[in-house]
């Protein structure tokens, strides 16, 4: 039997990144400062984690202006959304104590 932890996503698994992705999964896009305040991290910590998620292809960053003020918007890519859904399903399986049978090809 294979433990569902094998299906956890290594990029999303880190607590701060998991919170960032969970926040973005609930919206089409969100302002950088809003995500920072929601996840309760510093600007630099959020930037670092967003870079990691962006490198993995899970998050896209869009910079724009509202009036004269620069604004940065974060959004999940379709890959990021799928990865989050799979990760949450793996967490649910772990919480439910589900074990998967090993494939013969494993």
């Amino acid at each position: 039997m294979r433990h569902p932890r094998a299906k956890l996503d290594d990029v999303i698994h880190a607590p701060v990144r998991f919170s960032i992705v969970a926040a973005l999964a609930a919206a089409d896009q969100a302002d950088f400062k809003f995500v920072r305040d929601t996840v309760e991290v510093s600007d630099s910590a959020l930037s670092k984690q967003v870079s990691t998620l962006e490198s993995a292809g899970y998050v896209k960053v869009r910079k724009t202006f509202v009036g004269r003020r620069p604004r940065t918007y974060l959004a999940l890519t379709p890959e990021g959304r799928s990865a989050f859904d799979r990760h949450v399903q793996a967490l649910r399986d772990i919480a439910a104590g589900v074990q998967e049978p090993l494939n013969t090809t494993d």
Binding site: R5, A26, T38, V66, V88
Partner: protein
């Protein structure tokens, strides 16, 4: 990872998810106000089709739409499926509004039954969008 850790992670995700969804509720208010404004302005122009009414109502409508657009642009969160929802709402509204105004101006100027029905029809897409936005803001996920 143990069962308790997985449960804690799911609860944390649910908490963050709910907070973000609540901030996406603004679109329900935006769409509801759009619905009320479109009803009032369509009725105003249709029932009193004088140059003065049109001259007053049209700039007021433009100012109101600009105000709503600025309000929308300043929001920190775009709710889930916002792009498709807004496009669908504006698309349906445009068809109904154009039909009501073009046909009404040509064949039913000042006729209460036409403009009352038309104004109510024009308000339906924004009100449906408002109800949908309100529902997805409350929809549980993780």
């Amino acid at each position: 990872m143990q069962r308790e850790e997985a449960l804690e992670a799911l609860v944390a995700a649910q908490d963050v998810n709910s907070r973000v969804r609540r901030h996406g509720r603004w679109y329900a208010g935006y769409a509801a106000v759009y619905g009320v404004l479109t009803f009032v302005f369509t009725l105003g122009v249709g029932l009193f089709p004088t140059p003065i009414t049109v001259g007053v109502v049209t700039p007021l409508w433009v100012v109101a739409v600009c105000g709503l657009s600025v309000y929308a642009y300043r929001q920190p969160v775009s709710p889930l499926r916002f792009g498709r929802l807004h496009l669908a709402m504006i698309g349906c509204w445009s068809v109904l509004y154009t039909g009501t105004v073009v046909v009404g101006a040509a064949f039913f100027p000042g006729e209460a039954w036409w403009w009352g029905t038309g104004a109510a029809l024009c308000a339906i897409p924004p009100f449906i969008a408002a109800a949908y936005a309100h529902a997805i803001a409350a929809e549980p996920q993780a």
